[in-house]
């Protein structure tokens, strides 16, 4: 139960942060990604500050957590085991970037806007879930 509450609270903080930061606003995300608009004075540097703010807290936060040896409500930290930079990482990231550039929405914001926007948020979310399921079927075959 404590684990569930911790996960829920962390999710709430993340959702609030995504909205406040502007990351849940596709228009703002696209305005950041549109580097060419810099020349016209329309470039929006917000996302760089979002990232900076996130790392400002997360870098010392993760270091502190690991210095404690283990999490409060589990036996050990569950960290990704992969270390190699392989084709999957490269190709997957490139494909993700194309999708991100097409709509200005990444997975966190896709959830954050479900209650804030009409059918468009659901259209994107449904397609994203479908993409994840297609990956699951494909990777079991491969």
């Amino acid at each position: 139960m404590l684990r569930l509450i911790s996960a829920l609270v962390a999710g709430v903080v993340l959702g609030a942060g995504l909205v406040l930061s502007g990351m849940a606003n596709p228009q703002k995300v696209l305005a950041f990604l549109d580097l060419a608009s810099f020349a016209q004075g329309g470039w929006d540097p917000s996302l760089a500050l979002v990232m900076a703010g996130g790392l400002l807290v997360a870098v010392p936060g993760f270091a502190y957590a690991r210095s404690r040896g283990k999490p409060a409500l589990a036996d050990s930290f569950d960290l990704p085991s992969a270390t190699a930079i392989d084709g999957r990482l490269v190709l997957g990231s490139l494909v993700f970037g194309i999708g991100w550039g097409l709509a200005g929405i990444c997975p966190g914001p896709a959830l954050a806007i479900l209650s804030l926007d009409g059918h468009q948020a659901f259209t994107f979310f449904g397609a994203m879930v479908a993409g994840m399921l297609i990956f699951h079927l494909w990777s079991r075959r491969a």
Partner: protein, 146 residues
């Protein structure tokens, strides 16, 4: 127009909340707050881990709603590109879903958590998806849409 104008304070504080959420999840239950991984594994991963994953995902929806209500006037704005409204959203969603699972992470997992623990894989992933998104927006807005 508060929400489309550049607001450094909101961006910085919002970003700090995102970082705080990642630290909270890691500190409490030892998990990486990567939304694509948590959503993907909630769908197809271990049943024992499904409850906390769903709680986390539900939290995002609730927290976003609460923040939007307390600020007021927030509506995400989509701008349909040259391919129209829903075909572009569907294509984008499919690519984001497939790509983040293949690349084992998205903006939260690689961009915040991975970079915060100095993962070389996450640095490469973040640079690649940023570059690919920048090129995509350039092509849409300045090549096709010009």
């Amino acid at each position: 127009m508060y929400w489309t104008a550049f607001d450094p304070r909101a961006a910085l504080i919002g970003g700090m909340l995102i970082g705080l959420a990642a630290v909270m999840l890691f500190l409490r239950i030892g998990r990486i707050a990567g939304v694509s991984g948590i959503l993907g594994n909630a769908l197809t991963g271990a049943a024992a881990d499904r409850p906390w994953r769903i709680a986390f995902l539900a939290g995002i929806v609730l927290g976003a709603y609460a923040m939007a209500r307390s600020i007021g006037g927030f509506t995400p704005i989509f701008s349909p590109g040259p391919f129209g409204d829903w075909p572009q959203l569907v294509a984008a969603g499919l690519l984001v879903g497939f790509g983040t699972r293949l690349g084992a992470g998205c903006t939260s997992g690689h961009g915040i958590c991975g970079l915060a623990r100095f993962s070389k894989r996450s640095l490469v992933a973040t640079l690649l998806f940023m570059a690919s998104a920048i090129v995509t927006v350039f092509v849409l807005r300045h090549v096709i849409g010009a």
